[in-house]
């Protein structure tokens, strides 16, 4: 029982150590300002919106999922 308990505390110490290492590493990260990051997301959107077929619909002739219509004429 005692062994199990000391095992538990060793693992939780090592877990805590790992967590601190991880947090230290994350804290050192170079962060970009949110306004800049948001502006970049916006710029990407605006640059690519013309090519987005779900926003600017492609003409039916190029849409692979269009219904194929067959026209009949009376002879």
């Amino acid at each position: 029982m005692k062994e199990v308990m000391s095992n538990n505390s060793t693992t939780s110490i090592s877990q805590a150590r790992k967590a601190v290492e991880q947090l230290k590493m994350e804290a050192c990260m170079d962060r970009v300002k949110v306004s800049q990051a948001a502006a970049d997301l916006l710029a990407y959107c605006e640059a690519h919106v013309r090519e987005d077929p779900l926003i600017i619909p492609v003409p039916a002739s190029e849409n692979p999922f269009r219904e194929k219509k067959f026209f009949c004429t009376i002879l």
Partner: protein, 362 residues
């Protein structure tokens, strides 16, 4: 106002001193991520105010696929943009019967020549595809990944040679398909990992995973290290998807919200939610430009969000049970949703007419 966002008993001075002295990193990281630190915060929606609103969308269901005899759990598009693989509760996809129930994950290989799937069997198996009706595909099956709990998600990396898996055992893993060897494992989630997504190839070797521990974690595939973690959701994260530029990712959660996290700012930058939406989001995906976020929910609907403005652009009905999976096609012309109502629906844009006055969608 620089003092907005401060809690009671806090002053700018007290927060600054806490940061300098190095008082507990964990709450500070969480506060930074929630944006309540240091007041001035410009979320994406404010920056996007000057952007033109999107018009009214009309989407039409182009195809309804009814081959499954049971709940559709997962689907993936082939890079040829025409084929889909889907998996269900009683394993039939592309006419392969698997010896287990609940095939929870499936993925198409980049070449289109194989598919990977797995679920409650704790394994991820790869099947080379054949269109020869005489050949028994199940006979050529290769077991690649082996976890100690269910497989929740899988994805080929840039080639047919490696597979990334996520599992209920709380880990993700990278496997070599040919040898079945474990190349790298990713430990860090405190509970089941439910989803993963690989970064678009231009941005390098990382992937994001989401789990039942409410965390979304970004990993370096080569070192196995977690490089960033985000913990603002209030419940299980069911789905994560990278923004097309690779600088951000969206998540859908059982807390009924979808959120956008920016990787370079290292924080949540937008929330997509409404008081009227109370059911969890099961699956999210971006349109090609990243302007639209499609999210499937457990209330049988699909909500289409304007990523920049934060408003809902459209709500799509049609499924008769919860939407379990949703993917936009590789060329962006359509998206496919799979549901517990046994069907998959492929939807595309019919037209979009502009509105003069943008009113808040009720």
């Amino acid at each position: 106002m620089a003092t907005e966002g401060l809690h009671e008993n806090e002053t700018l001075a007290s927060l600054k001193s806490e940061a300098e002295v190095g008082g507990s990193l964990e709450p500070r990281r969480l506060r930074l991520q929630r944006g309540t630190d240091y007041g001035l915060v410009l979320p994406v929606h404010q920056v996007a105010e000057r952007v033109e609103a999107l018009g009214q969308f009309v989407m039409k269901t182009r195809r309804t696929l009814k081959g499954h005899g049971n709940k559709v759990l997962c689907m993936d598009w082939c890079k040829d943009k025409r084929r889909i693989v889907s998996s269900s509760q009683v394993c039939h996809e592309h006419a392969v019967t698997m010896p287990c129930t609940w095939v929870m994950a499936c993925a198409y290989a980049p070449s289109g020549c194989a598919i990977a799937c797995g679920g409650l069997d704790n394994k991820c198996s790869v099947y080379p595809l054949t269109f020869d009706k005489n050949e028994n595909m199940a006979a050529k099956k290769k077991s690649v990944a082996m976890h100690t709990n269910y497989l929740s998600a899988c994805s080929f990396t840039n080639s047919d040679m490696q597979i990334l898996t996520a599992s209920g055992d709380g880990t993700c893993a990278l496997w070599d398909v040919e040898s079945g060897q474990l190349l790298q494992s990713f430990h860090g989630h405190g509970a089941d990992v439910l989803c993963l997504d690989l970064a678009p190839s231009e941005t390098g070797n990382t992937f994001v995973s989401g789990g039942c521990d409410k965390k979304a974690m970004v990993w370096d595939m080569r070192s196995g290290q977690c490089v960033q973690a985000f913990e603002t959701h209030e419940s299980d994260i069911n789905s994560v998807r990278y923004y097309p530029s690779g600088d951000a990712f969206a998540s859908g959660s059982d807390d009924a919200t979808c959120r956008l996290y920016d990787l370079r700012a290292d924080r949540e930058v937008a929330i997509y939610s409404k008081e009227s939406i109370i059911f969890g989001a099961s699956s999210v995906d971006f349109s090609l430009s990243g302007r639209l976020l499609f999210a499937g929910y457990n209330d049988y609907t699909i909500n289409v969000w304007d990523v920049l403005k934060g408003s809902r652009v459209s709500i799509l009905f049609g499924h008769e049970n919860r939407v379990s999976t949703l993917r936009v096609s590789p060329d962006g012309t359509a998206f496919c949703s799979g549901s517990w109502d046994h069907t998959l629906r492929v939807r595309g844009m019919v037209f979009c007419f502009p509105v003069c006055e943008r009113r808040e969608d009720g």
